[in-house]
Symmetry: C2
Subunit: 351 residues, 2 copies
């Protein structure tokens, strides 16, 4: 597993924590800051700390969870950076899941108009997805990632060992993106996944997922075109995720929501873009076996559709989806009507 070259930086997979230490030792940063959440401080910082012995850094910890991915927490971290006299040649090391890497990336990209940062993604989701693409951001008023920048990290260090402490539900959350990578671009990979033990996907499966995402991102860094392929499952999924965050005591993970989105958008694909009934059945079978059924409140479907309309990927009043032609092939910019989207929610609810 060689390092993967992304946009101006490398993603390492082997001995990654040692590679991070080399990166630090060979750099000329004036100060180092590590951003964690309260859980990665416990589970992930120790493996880094033993390697950092003798080096000086400051730790900044935020609370864990999507509820904390907001501007209030950014302000807290910015103030700590100010208090620690972080200058323009400081490095921020984001150690955590997608919340920490997205928010830390945004914080770094706007502190003093931009300081360098590296990501050490510690969840499956952040390893296979947030690790590539340069998207940083935070939520506002429960609209996900509505405030952010496109800024590449200076490096990404993926350590498979971190996944060993990850709860099953978080593994499943990342797995949804891996399945998506197969569905949109690589039928063989989809088959590999289908036939693997997915309670802890192997390092090789993680690697292939990052490769696929990286190919798509490099072809279209600013999401003007083909990169929208990665939105498969996300038009419906994001809206369901936001709805769940606002309404459920125990809200859906990103991957659980995307799995629902992929069921709905596969149904739309079958209706609109040529996905065969057989392939639809196969996709729905795999997803419904892996993910618990969510109680979609159909009487509130309008609220979910309103959330889709506010999605930042839309232009004007159209609702845009990426749909499948077959497993491994997709089409971007497929306009779906509100009725079609409502029907797709009904399809899911009726399963």
């Amino acid at each position: 597993m060689n390092n993967i070259n992304s946009i101006g930086y490398e993603i390492s997979f082997q001995n990654s924590l040692n590679q991070l230490i080399s990166f630090i030792d060979n750099s000329s940063y004036t100060k180092f800051f590590i951003l964690t959440d309260e859980i990665t401080t416990v589970h992930c910082l120790p493996a880094l700390e033993v390697r950092l012995v003798g080096r000086t850094y400051d730790l900044i910890e935020v609370s864990a969870g999507e509820e904390c991915k907001n501007l209030d927490f950014c302000i807290g971290v910015w103030k700590m950076l100010i208090d620690f006299n972080a200058d323009r040649k400081s490095l921020l090391i984001n150690l955590g899941g997608g919340v920490v890497t997205d928010m830390g990336g945004f914080i770094a990209s706007t502190y003093k108009r931009g300081i360098d940062f590296v990501n050490v993604p510690t969840t499956l989701l952040s390893q296979v997805d947030a690790s590539v693409g340069g998207k940083t951001g935070v939520d506002l008023d429960s609209i996900k990632n509505i405030i952010g920048t496109f800024t590449q990290p200076k490096a990404v260090f993926i350590a498979h060992e971190y996944l060993s402490t990850l709860p099953e539900r978080q593994i499943l959350s990342g797995l949804a993106e891996m399945l998506k990578h197969g569905l949109i671009k690589d039928q063989a990979y989809w088959n590999d996944l289908k036939n693997s033990d997915l309670s802890l996907p192997s390092a090789e499966l993680v690697y292939r997922s990052v490769e696929i995402k990286n190919e798509v991102v490099i072809a279209d860094p600013h999401e003007k075109g083909i990169r929208k392929a990665l939105n498969f499952g996300h038009t419906v999924g994001h809206a369901v995720e936001t709805f769940s965050l606002d309404n459920d005591k125990r809200s859906l993970t990103h991957g659980e929501a995307i799995a629902i989105g992929m069921v709905c958008e596969s149904w739309l694909s079958c209706k609109k873009s040529g996905l065969s009934q057989n392939e639809l059945d196969e996709i729905v079978g795999v997803l419904m076996r892996l993910y618990p059924k969510y109680n979609l409140q159909l009487e509130r479907a309008d609220e979910i559709i309103t959330l889709m309309r506010k999605d930042k990927k839309n232009e004007g009043n159209k609702i845009n989806c990426t749909l499948l032609v077959s497993i491994g092939n997709c089409l971007i910019d497929q306009i779906c009507s509100e009725d079609e989207l409502r029907e797709s929610l009904e399809f899911y609810a009726g399963l």
Copy 2:
């Protein structure tokens, strides 16, 4: 006065408001938003409104003044953009002084990871300075511009007519940067300024100032080197400005603070970088004639120096200044000790 080419965009000076309308009419944006403050709504919006007849746009107004250049106001504007369903192909038109153009630029550069914006600077300061360079940002905890991005506008429209309603104190504020442009790069321009009626600098003088700033910025867009020339007067000036914002009922304008900073840093130049006593006297004479004397509280000089240390332009613990070699020539990255900086404040206080 031809348009000036800056980094990927043009700055217009002639019939600028009509040029803005052409820009709008020839574009393919889905929505237009105009950001004003309560004063530019009164003084500057009407001239635009008459030209906008028949076109659709939404107005977003913030309160006026540096106290409003903060994240709370950003959040307010971001929420309005969300409510107005602003999508990624929306255009934000910032109509106001440096507060509106800096904050509006930051808001646009981070909303949905970046939408386009154009600036219509309506103060002298924003015309000769904030119009070039791609710096966006807001203050946090009274640290100026500590949060922001480097993002270029799509165009800048400079209308000299807007200066007619500007209070004298605001004219003087912009004038300080024009004098700075002469001091660091163009002795002839300094002499022109010295011999002009400066109660309302002519369009030609404004134009030359933008030209000088643009040359410096193009040579070094990310402030890695020569662009630091523009920091002349700003190491001391920014700190005095922040101190005044925190302590004075009627706080200094940016230009008044920079004028103080230029006196102090000219004194440092005479001491350290070869500025002659004659030229020091000339500079001090012009600045003290134009700007009211500020009552620097020397017993609190330490607080001002602490603010200099927190300045985002510093690296590590060094305090960096741009100093003059002669009128029209400068040197960047001149390290000054805290004692030297304190003495320069004493020099000003003793004038």
